[in-house]
């Protein structure tokens, strides 16, 4: 057993154990950014600037009563959130964080992700149906309808990526972007921008985010499919939802933004500026921001990591994960931006958008990309 063979299992373990906490902090980050959009502060009470809020939330959830409505289908009621979580985590396995850091490099990576996403919706449908509550049922049906309408467009927009890369492996897609010296976002003379646009809309709908958060539209159907869930069972749904958001951001970053590649990965002399100076500058900037918020331990931590990044060997080793997570964060920020700006679509408008706009558009983009690619 060498370190290389153990690495995937180690990563799987770290992912599975860390992500409940990471999810908590994703929620905090979302609340903070949303608060910034809305001219308020967000969580400020637990810890400095609300930094301990996720831990308090987790403790609260553990201490909550776990209620099961009477007449619920107990087995499915218990199973559904687990199903959501497990399928969401499964997709982690194929996402490459650097050339070596990945759990599995499957030759059907992209397909596995869409397949698992499709299975994941069963968590929503079964949870909503088994609760024996009207609101949950409405949420579950909305979830099903939504999946149906956007899965196709999502799949079609990813086909254009596959046409460029010639492989379904996530690692292969990143390598193809390196070899072709271009992020696929700008591929085919900019035509891929259209594909990215379709992908982004379909992806937001796929993970039930605003403005497509119909299955849990609280002003209409209270909490939708998880109305009856409480305590950590409910938290599992949140865990699955944020994991899915992370996955979809990671897929966007990988297939359209060059994954863990640094920008201009083929230009040799940019290696040190992009691998070391840029990350270090960003970390110093964050350190300065923390200093302004009087979070001095973080200032020290970020400042030191910035200095460490300036060491060439460290920069080479860490720049790939750095760029990957930076790109993922950028897409995540855009999703929050959507949520802050847009009202929610109505059920029939959602279906219309999916079937009558996105699918024809995706097919058109596919054909156009195929023709350009042939030339």
């Amino acid at each position: 057993m060498t370190f290389e063979t153990l690495l995937p299992y180690l990563m799987a373990a770290i992912f599975a154990m860390a992500f409940p906490l990471v999810t908590g902090y994703l929620v905090l980050v979302e609340r903070k950014i949303l608060a910034d959009f809305q001219a308020r502060l967000g969580p400020m009470r637990v810890g400095p600037h609300g930094l301990l809020q996720p831990i308090a939330d987790a403790l609260k959830l553990i201490l909550k009563e776990d209620t099961v409505p009477k007449d619920a289908d107990k087995f499915l009621f218990y199973l559904a959130p687990l199903l959501s979580v497990v399928t969401a985590f499964g997709s982690f396995a194929v996402i490459p964080i650097s050339a070596t850091l990945r759990i599995a490099d499957l030759n059907i990576g992209l397909l596995l992700i869409s397949a698992l996403a499709a299975v994941g919706v069963f968590g929503i449908i079964l949870g909503g149906w088994s609760s024996n509550s009207n609101y949950s049922l409405l949420g579950a049906l909305r979830g099903a309808a939504q999946l149906i309408s956007y899965e196709v467009a999502l799949g079609l927009s990813l086909v254009t990526v596959v046409m460029l890369s010639g492989t379904l492996s996530m690692q292969g897609i990143v390598e193809a972007q390196f070899n072709q010296r271009i992020w696929f976002l700008f591929g085919n003379y900019g035509l891929m921008l259209l594909s990215f646009f379709i992908f982004l809309i379909a992806a937001v709908a796929e993970v039930n985010r605003a403005p497509f958060d119909l299955p849990e539209a609280e002003s209409e159907i209270v909490a939708g499919y998880h109305t009856e869930y409480s305590g950590f069972r409910w938290a599992l749904y949140m865990l699955a939802e944020y994991t899915n958001i992370f996955i979809i951001c990671a897929v966007a970053a990988t297939v359209f933004f060059g994954g863990w590649l640094r920008p201009f990965a083929n230009i040799e002399w940019l290696a040190y500026p992009m691998d070391a100076i840029f990350p270090a500058a960003l970390l110093f900037l964050s350190a300065w921001g923390c200093a302004r918020m009087k979070l001095f331990p973080f200032t020290a931590l970020l400042g030191i990591s910035g200095l460490v990044f300036l060491i060439p060997a460290v920069a080479t080793a860490l720049s790939a994960p750095f760029w990957f997570f930076l790109k993922v964060s950028a897409v995540f920020y855009v999703l929050i931006w959507f949520r802050a700006s847009w009202p929610r679509l109505r059920y029939d408008q959602l279906m219309d958008l999916g079937w009558k706009r996105l699918i024809p558009l995706a097919l058109g983009a596919l054909l156009a990309n195929a023709i350009i690619g042939m030339l």
Binding site: F37, Q38, R40, S219, A340, P343, R344
Partner: protein
């Protein structure tokens, strides 16, 4: 394509504990899929017997109670009540008091419309608007607080005029608010008016034509969104509204989107009134000569004003005693809410939320 399978309809309780029924309104929806087949409105969860209380209090004592009906626009409630009692006893507020009343009523109209805009945008999933509107509403409430100490249930006026002289900083505060708010209104419009999803969600939703509005006795912005130019401030001017230069916005879409636009435009017009009123606050007394103990001659009076939500009327019968013999309120929310069924049947669940939002109800006023 028709549905050949037999399906049963779902009976869904929406409210009284529901995020978007604005308090304790209960709707019993009969659903076919998500389409509403029938809707039954159940009210009364917030009934406090305000009218009956009125019969057991003196005219002065009852005045603070009216603030608790439409608690979002307490000033308008108070204004209507004071005007009604003043007409009953044959008194009239002095000019200074009248202008100050108009100022407060229009500030209150803005506050009420702001709360409406924020909450109904939240109902449609646009949560950001809520925080912006609340921020501006806060400025109005601060002016109220500095004037009379209360923010929500202000009880700002007295029968015959005003209790307090204007506070020293009132003019500066109000001017600053007016300046700031003009820009903020444009900001809201930037956020919502042309937002494609916002338009999609509201256009053609909850149509109530002018004829239907009249037959349901609907008043206020809903009526004006259906193309009827009827605003009591112009039609039957009270408290000196005739001196002001302002317009009544009228649109013809009769749908939720036009109701939204009407309310935005009304806020602009309110600012015009406020700006003019600030220029011409006369000096002089703030209270008319009103006896300490009110004992109106037997008779009856109906006085109505244009509250933010529509026509707010007070019908008071006096039998010559210390208490009203009968006190009846015509609450705009209650009357407007009656039209919900007409608009909601055939719509989707999400539309029902939008429709309740754009009727602009306050359950405190519906149930009284």
């Amino acid at each position: 394509m028709t549905n050949h399978l037999e399906t049963s309809e779902m009976l869904l309780n929406m409210g009284p504990q529901h995020p978007s029924t604005h308090g304790v309104l209960r709707l019993v929806l009969k659903l076919d899929g998500e389409r509403v087949k029938a809707v039954e409105c159940v009210i009364g969860y917030l009934h406090r017997g305000v009218e009956k209380i009125g019969e057991n209090r003196t005219y002065m004592q009852f005045a603070p109670y009216v603030d608790r009906m439409d608690y979002i626009s307490a000033v308008s409630n108070g204004l209507g009540y004071c005007l009604a009692v003043e007409q009953l006893i044959g008194a009239e507020a002095p000019p200074r008091a009248q202008i100050v009343r108009v100022l407060f009523a229009e500030l209150n109209r803005i506050a009420s419309h702001l709360l409406w805009l924020g909450t109904s945008a939240l109902d449609l999933g646009a949560m950001t608007a809520l925080f912006y509107t609340m921020r501006e509403r806060e400025e109005v409430l601060k002016i109220f607080e500095n004037y009379c100490g209360a923010r929500l249930t202000t009880h700002a006026f007295r029968i015959g005029g005003l209790q307090y002289e204007l506070h020293d900083t009132f003019e500066a505060e109000t001017r600053a608010f007016s300046e700031m708010f003009k820009k903020r209104l444009d900001e809201y419009e930037k956020l919502l008016t042309k937002n494609p999803i916002w338009v999609e969600r509201l256009k053609g939703v909850g149509i109530l034509t002018a004829e239907e509005c009249k037959s349901y006795a609907v008043s206020g912005p809903m009526l004006r969104a259906a193309g009827v130019n009827w605003d009591l401030r112009k039609a039957q001017p009270y408290s000196g509204y005739e001196q002001f230069d302002f317009e009544i916005p009228v649109l013809h879409g009769a749908d939720s989107y036009d109701r939204y636009r009407i309310r935005i435009e009304e806020m602009r017009q309110s600012l015009r009134i406020i700006d003019q009123a600030l220029e011409r606050i006369p000096s002089g007394a703030i209270m008319a000569k009103v006896p300490k103990v009110l004992k109106p001659a037997p008779g009856e009076v109906y006085v109505s004003i244009e509250a933010p939500k529509g026509e707010l009327g007070y019908y008071i019968v006096s039998d010559g005693s210390l208490h009203p013999y009968r006190l009846r309120v015509r609450p705009p929310s209650f009357v407007n809410l009656a039209s919900l069924e007409k608009m909601a049947v055939g719509a989707l669940v999400a539309d029902v939320v939008a429709i309740i939002g754009t009727i602009d109800i306050v359950l405190g006023e519906v149930d009284r």
